[in-house]
Symmetry: C2
């Protein structure tokens, strides 16, 4: 009785970016589930049970969490950033829809967090400034031609683009192929930013442009931002420049 | 000496969704600038000076804030949600780029927040589940044909869409026109959600579909979410349904 499940976004990394709502929910949890590095970051009561699983076992983890909630436990599934943006929230509802009807009576909620793209943008300036999109370059869950088609149409639409999961050991060539498509549509001087591990150890920002952008500088912890014709680089007296996208658009 | 400017996102509305980082920066401010309803929500030291301005005076407000920081004040410009998503961050950097060179030596930073789209998605379930975009339907700063073109291409790309500023007294017909474009591309049963004032007084969620979606139910405080072929409605034992977008995409 009284079990529930909350899917909680922990924000980009720093404790100061975890919302009080997320902290309060975590403090009540009896069980915590998630990918190891996220579970490690979560502050819970000392006797909360921590169920760590590999990053690729989302549906299984979601079913486990739902079963625990059904058994009366107070369950938190954690994601980095926001759980609704390439995080665990979708997997939990997919598991719920495919599971026993009783799960539809459970108290399930999602607690939003500061997503990686918002943290990266804030760190760099205001690159999202206008309309934008977020696209995962991973082809684990969608065909690669769908990924490229989305990248192409978003560039034609003039959307600022945040590319999640740009590169991994299993697919080192994806980002280069995406840059190839983008270079057919956007000018070479289009601003490109690499934002690595924002708010965490190993943080690094690179501001470059589309013709020079080197996929070798990018790893799985990096978010890649592609600007539009309105995106500007503003030199500072000291330090790396700010990047922002003007709100005003004069034409397509 | 020692002046700085921080552009701070206050989150969707509830205090429990303001990050500790944002609260700490607000506590240090000597001057607070912003649109009235956001300034009202911000918790500062009692002697902080509050400069309230109309919602349409962003650039002027940004210049005022930069001048105060240059004069040695500790200045916070507030936005609702995240300041980088249709908020004040872009205006501040635009003012900075166009202003005196000395402003390029200022300590200017952006503190991210939980954006309206993340809060709305969490409230509903996990509608963003896959690739998504955020588009403002306002034509104050971009031509209306650019808005419609972006809506059309995003639908063709299969992106979940979050439509900001969907409707105002000055342009009551914009959302209906956008629905008209979308109905040419997406099936009538595509899931549409209206998320009004999430986390604030007057919160309301409507789950409908594209063929039935009625712009009359939408006002300027509403965020409109348009699903994809992967977006599902899951009935609950009690209460309104959950909406989520499956992560797996089988074709375009």
């Amino acid at each position: 009785m009284g079990g529930w499940l909350a899917v909680v976004g922990l924000g980009p990394g720093a404790m100061a970016q975890v919302t009080p709502e997320a902290s309060a929910v975590l403090a009540e949890a009896t069980d915590l589930l998630g990918y190891g590095p996220y579970v490690d970051r979560a502050v819970t009561a000392p006797d909360a049970v921590r169920h760590v699983s590999d990053n690729r076992e989302e549906l299984e983890r979601a079913r486990h969490a739902l079963a625990l909630a059904e058994a009366g436990r107070r369950v938190v599934v954690v994601s980095g950033g926001d759980a609704g943006v390439f995080g665990m929230a979708s997997a939990v509802f997919e598991a719920l829809e495919g599971g026993p009807v009783a799960w539809r009576g459970l108290d399930v909620r999602v607690v939003p967090g500061v997503s990686a793209v918002l943290a990266a943008a804030a760190r760099i300036g205001a690159p999202l400034g206008g309309d934008f999109c977020a696209i995962s370059l991973s082809d684990n869950l969608k065909p690669w031609d769908v990924v490229l088609r989305r990248v192409r149409l978003s560039a034609e639409a003039g959307l600022v683009m945040a590319l999640y999961n740009p590169r991994s050991r299993a697919r080192p060539w994806h980002l280069g192929a995406a840059f190839g498509v983008l270079r057919e549509i956007l000018p070479g001087e289009t601003v490109v930013c690499f934002a690595r591990a924002i708010g965490r150890a190993g943080e690094r920002v690179v501001v470059t442009d589309l013709q020079r952008a080197d996929p070798e500088l990018v790893d799985m912890s990096t978010l890649v931002l592609i600007g539009t014709a309105e995106t500007r680089v503003v030199a500072r007296v000291e330090g790396e420049p700010w990047v922002y996208t003007r709100r005003r658009v004069d034409s397509v």
